[in-house]
């Protein structure tokens, strides 16, 4: 089984790589198989690992408040019947409302309070020039970046200048993320090459 498996895996790997040249039947084959297999895998694993413990086991244990979730779940399925499909909005409303409330405080704290808290730093650190400069740059960068995100004021004059500085900071940061990611992406490719040349063909060990 293992040898056949490795051969199949290697051919599928080549099939996906062939997309880099152009779209072709080999890629289409891999793609359509991948969609079917992955959708099936996801359904099966979610059923056994989430549905059974979260719903079935709880109902068997007599925790009937889980029925409420099940009822909303069934309402969701009513979408398949056009006449009563509107009932699925109740389930949708529960999902959206609950998470909107949840995310409200989550974003307020982690994206608001915590960031402000981290940026409250002294602009002058006695006897430490590099930290003084660093702190100044952080405050100026955050400040000008926020100015860039102002929607109700035109980017003109001094305000526009600061907004421009802000976008420079943003681009610098994007470049940093970009450069930071390159290595990890290369290692993914090396991993695949290693599979083809090592595990499959045995050319490298």
């Amino acid at each position: 089984m293992e040898t056949i498996g490795i051969w199949i895996a290697a051919l599928l790997t080549l099939g996906i790589f062939s997309f880099l040249y152009k779209d072709n039947p080999f890629y289409k084959f891999c793609e359509s198989l991948f969609v079917g297999i992955s959708a099936g895998y996801w359904f099966v694993t979610t059923f056994w690992q989430v549905f059974m413990p979260k719903l079935a086991d709880n109902l068997i244990a007599g925790r009937f408040y889980y029925m409420i979730g099940a009822i909303f779940g069934v309402l969701m399925l009513l979408r398949l019947f056009p006449k009563i499909g509107w009932l699925s909005r109740w389930s949708l409303a529960l999902v959206v409302g609950t998470t909107a409330g949840l995310y409200f405080t989550r974003y307020l704290v982690s994206n608001g309070m915590v960031q402000v808290q981290n940026t409250i730093i002294p602009l002058y650190v006695k006897g430490n020039l590099s930290q003084t400069i660093g702190n100044l740059v952080i405050v100026i960068g955050t400040f000008s970046g926020l100015i860039y995100f102002f929607f109700s004021k035109e980017h003109k004059g001094a305000f526009g200048g600061l907004a421009k500085l802000g976008i420079w900071f943003l681009m610098l940061s994007f470049g940093a993320s970009f450069g930071y990611t390159v290595m990890s992406r290369m290692s993914l490719l090396i991993g695949r090459m290693d599979y083809l040349l090592g595990t499959w063909l045995g050319l490298i060990r």
Binding site: G15, L77, W90, A93, A100, G145, F178, Y195
Partner: protein, 208 residues
């Protein structure tokens, strides 16, 4: 009933979730945990909608003999095989060593890893695209990317300077810009959440 009740459900559940954040008492904790579980359960039921959509689209392609219908057959075969293998032996169907897991390891995993590794090529072509743009902003992006990328590579006499510069960029201006984005996203997301809770943003509800 069709429009008002869902808006009411959104409002009540949204306000409850905001309030429960401030209330440590166990009664609120319990309701919070139930609500989170209900959401997961709703998601599981919705999976059937997904499978239905995928199957229907593939079957109708095959029936209509649309271009590439043979590939839709492949999708259906893959799906049906996984569903059959995943259920025919009850909850033992997905144990390690089953045929179900073999398909996962020898078909799913290699394709997924290869798709992911395509990024190595795309990151290079994206960099080239940015290089061709030749604006101030694209140049800032590229030069910074280069400095950060080269920090791990020995560059002789300028290695030390480059490493220092790379770590300064990462911890100072990069941090400043990220904070600005985070704060902006925080305000945008909280405002959107409020608009949802108060029923002002309701395009997602559709219309009759």
């Amino acid at each position: 009933m069709r429009r008002q009740l869902p808006i009411l459900i959104v409002f009540v559940s949204g306000v409850f979730m905001v309030i429960q954040y401030f209330i440590p008492h166990e009664s609120f904790e319990f309701i919070y945990e139930y609500a989170m579980d209900w959401i997961i359960i709703i998601g599981i039921f919705a999976m059937l909608l997904g499978l239905w959509s995928l199957t229907r689209a593939s079957v109708s392609k095959v029936q209509a003999k649309a271009p590439g219908w043979g590939f839709s057959v492949m999708t259906l075969v893959g799906l049906a095989t996984m569903l059959f293998l995943g259920f025919y032996k009850g909850n033992k169907s997905i144990a390690e060593g089953t045929f179900f897991m073999d398909l996962f390891w020898y078909i799913y995993t290699p394709i997924q890893a290869t798709m992911f590794s395509l990024l190595a090529f795309y990151i290079a072509s994206a960099a080239y695209r940015a290089f061709r743009v030749r604006t101030v902003l694209a140049t800032i992006l590229l030069v910074t990317a280069l400095i950060i990328m080269l920090r791990l590579i020995p560059l002789g006499p300028i290695s030390g300077v480059n490493q220092w510069l790379a770590s300064w960029i990462l911890t100072v201006p990069n941090m400043a810009a990220k904070r600005a984005i985070w704060i902006g996203v925080g305000l945008g997301a909280t405002a959107t959440a409020l608009k949802i809770i108060f029923g002002i943003e309701r395009a997602y509800m559709g219309k009759d």
